[in-house]
């Protein structure tokens, strides 16, 4: 391949280096844009026009700003506290069960584009005490490595549930981007069709995450606490 062609990939290299150097994400993306324009000899007006045109075409992804008009006020009126109460209803809990229940709740709410404050706002103050408390309730001291795995799994559930279920929110950012990408290729698609396609993926991802995390948690409890857990019926 010609060098003049391969050099066009320099923007991608810049993005990788930027992330490795932990630069500001917005700076990285801007550098990627500028470098790609320079190596492909794009004139400045076309570059600005391309940035502007695509940003405006994807303004729909900013729809969350409209939703924020009510999100803050929902939190003011106890959304997070009520969510904590809802998940607190999981009884006879062990860490795997708590994380699984959180996955179901988070997935369900993700379909409505509702989140409870992420790792800082919900996992740390609500899910962690419940999961670790469930171990302590069995009369054992939680093993440090088990606790770290519980934390990792909780964050994993947070991500998996949100990624694969928020695409079921019909005007989710990903869906709008797929629609506008296809429109750029001259193919018109309906948002509803896009949602329908990902339903089996969402279900598979959530079910597998729940099963896997429960198996993993059970194995770790057996490894670290042995009989202490087996005696109490789950």
């Amino acid at each position: 391949m010609e060098f003049s062609e391969l050099i066009k990939l320099l923007g991608i290299v810049i993005v990788i280096i930027g992330f490795i150097l932990k630069l500001e994400p917005i700076l990285i993306v801007l550098l990627g844009i500028i470098v790609t324009a320079i190596v492909s000899l794009m004139d400045p007006i076309t570059l600005l026009g391309t940035i502007g045109n695509s940003f405006v075409a994807n303004r729909g992804m900013a729809i969350f700003i409209l939703i924020l008009l009510v999100t803050g006020t929902m939190e003011r009126n106890g959304l997070r506290e009520s969510a904590a109460k809802l998940i607190g209803k999981v009884k006879g809990a062990n860490p795997g069960k708590v994380i699984g229940a959180y996955g179901i709740m988070r997935s369900f709410f993700a379909m409505f584009n509702v989140s409870f404050g992420g790792v800082a706002g919900f996992v740390r103050p609500v899910i962690m005490p419940m999961a670790i408390g469930a171990v302590e309730a069995k009369g054992v001291v939680p093993n440090e490595k088990h606790v770290d795995t519980i934390k990792g799994m909780s964050s994993g559930m947070e991500n998996v549930a949100w990624f694969f279920w928020q695409v079921l929110f019909i005007t989710g950012g990903g869906n709008l981007l797929v629609q506008s990408t296809l429109a750029g290729l001259g193919i018109e698609v309906e948002l509803l069709e896009l949602v329908r396609v990902v339903i089996p993926v969402a279900i598979f991802a959530l079910v597998w995450a729940i099963v896997y995390y429960n198996l993993k948690d059970r194995a770790l409890r057996k490894k670290y606490y042995g009989d202490a857990v087996d005696k109490t019926k789950e």
Binding site: L27, T71, S82, L86, F112, N159, V189, V197
Partner: protein
Amino acid sequence: MTFTDGFTNPMVWFSDPAVATSQKLLEIMFIIMGLVCINSALRNLFDKENKAPIGSGIFWGALGIVLLSGRWLPHAVNGMLIVLMTLPAIFRKVKMGKSDVPTDEYTKNQAKKIGMKIFIPAFSIGISAIFFALVLPNLGAMVGVGVGVIISALFLMSFNRETKPTIFLNDSRRMLDVIGPLCMLPMLLASLGAVFTGAGVGDVIAQVVAPLIPEGNMTIGIIVYALGMVLFTMIMGNAFAAITVMTVGIGYPFVLALGADPVVIVMLALTTGYCGTLMTPMAANFNIVPVAMLDIKDKYAVIKNQIAIALPVMVFQIILMIALS
């Protein structure tokens, strides 16, 4: 492209019968979103507690103008406004203003009073969006979100007499302040994708992968497209940056051009890309920041707990793409 390309007179645009009603309603929603951002800009600009009033004002102000009037401004002017708004973000001059976050006591009290009813306004937006998509497809899901927000606000006002329109504005400003400049990243990544495409990056990638795909073999095309999405997402840290380039470079020429269903192929390519997001430290806000927030010793603990989920989900989706194509 010339400097004035894209300029339209909004009055003419709104009175043009050829423009669909849903488009006009959508534009009104963008105007409201723009005003919400401009409200944030002005409040921060005159906020004595904001450590960077000018930077914050420029960022939210420029974003507000693009949202509000981007449809009618020349493309290049929008481009300049976007570059302008990245500057305070890059120099970390977008800061939070005076916070009027409700006390724990207040929210606990409200939770006691309102209880599970609070989920009604939480659900009304999504339900309204689906309702519009199914029953009023001419107006569409986006307009449904707008109507849903109004319904949600009405519920909130009926639950709590103290909830006045200014409360919504104050609370939304606080939320925007918390999210900060990263809220523009998805749109900026879409622009990166567009510049890649405009520069011909997609074509270069097509040339690179062409020898891997036997001519006319859709199954191999799908596998390369899906794995390309995962790999590119891992490199870029974000599936949004990957989908445009991969679709133009691989998805279109090697899969869609052979007659596959674009809805299935491209949508699942995006969610296959999400499997890449689960496996890369480049997606720091999802995979690395929680490690710090939860005080985990192993820096890659989140990723390690996600790989065994990402890989089966990836395989499942590739099979689904092949089966439904």
